[in-house]
Symmetry: C2
Subunit: 221 residues, 2 copies
């Protein structure tokens, strides 16, 4: 695997917890590909607003989308935005409350989003978003018609300015606390699991669950 270093700017340079910073482009891709939703932050009337939303990655581009009427998306154009993808892998129990922590994988992307204008790239962006949310569905479900496309904005954000932090392993306790041995220390891992697919109430009875859904159900979330 080629290890392309991230090229952080001052604001994407991690200042706190430098030992958790990962300066590796492949780690950024891995976190973005493992996440399901992101948190998008924009500034509206001078105040920060953060909202959960879907995303998808293709190479060096993160695609976002939403209704043309959404204030958060309109506020994301021609100005700085920030996108975070976070996976929590466990809770770290330490001997002192000061050293309690979480194990996690975190990616934070800064930049200016570009409104995708060509129909070809708009469809491509929607395919990337759909395949991230529900792999196999672009081939399976009905594709957007002209009316649906007209209602949908697609934004593209470069991954050039990004930071990755990963924490794994047990607590970093003080030597005195380890020696005093007064508390349990360890990790309670956390994992996301898919549950059995639930057909829609209005689905006609002839359907079996298609393979792209059963394959996902059988895989780690």
């Amino acid at each position: 695997m080629t290890r392309t270093p991230l090229s952080p700017t001052p604001r994407s340079t991690i200042k706190r917890g430098k030992n958790r910073a990962v300066a590796d482009r492949a780690a950024l891709d891995a976190v973005l590909d493992a996440g399901l939703i992101c948190h998008l932050s924009v500034v509206i009337d001078g105040a920060p607003v953060v909202l959960p939303t879907g995303y998808g990655r293709d190479g060096n581009t993160l695609y976002l989308h939403g209704s043309t009427g959404a204030l958060s998306l309109r506020s994301a154009l021609d100005t700085d935005i920030c996108v975070a993808v976070t996976l929590v892998d466990g809770i770290v129990y330490a001997r002192s409350v000061f050293h309690f922590s979480a194990n996690y994988r975190s990616a934070v992307v800064h930049g200016r989003a570009r409104l995708v204008e060509s129909e070809e790239e708009r469809l491509h962006g929607l395919e990337v978003l759909t395949e991230h949310l529900a792999p196999g569905s672009w081939q399976h479900a009905r594709l957007p018609d002209a009316k649906e496309l007209a209602k949908t904005q697609v934004l593209a954000l470069s991954l050039d300015e990004a930071a990755v932090k990963i924490r794994a392993g047990g607590p970093g306790d003080e030597p005195e606390d380890i020696e005093n041995d007064n508390a349990w220390a360890g990790v309670l891992p956390l994992r996301q699991n898919w549950q059995a697919p639930e057909p829609s109430d209005d689905l006609s009875p002839g359907w079996t669950v298609p393979q792209h859904v059963t394959d996902r159900y059988a895989s780690p979330a």
Copy 2:
């Protein structure tokens, strides 16, 4: 259960997906209590920054904390901030890609954080944060000493200005697509599960996993 309505301001009034807005104070508390981490958004040099961090709720107050050296926390004082807590409950597979969605519970809080100054409330805030991250641990682990307290900032954010959105159930497909019956439709639910506790490598061999950890392992995450 007393149902106290949320009292939204213009920026905490949900404009998109109004059918998913929940104007019920108990729903806000439930989402905040079910989440594990939040995404905190602040404005730094005019640009939004969003970072994952811990939190805890006591009544109408959300507590945040961090190192006194953290730029994100320093930037959160005397100015507007925004905090989002999001739980993803499943992926909604529709007959058309336009109607793909996620089932989720989302809380977004807007406001100005107050720096907690009294030692009593600082300790209380840290207890609330610790008990949210790892219930039972404030009684079990060593409490912060003066040096650790001096390194830690505690912020308090009122929950007066908040919005809750909840999506549950199957897809909202178009009648023509339901009739055409060309794609599977349903939900692939997602659940977080605790995994077996992993004692720290440096834990002395006499320890069994304490009950506040085994109880949590036995509960839904």
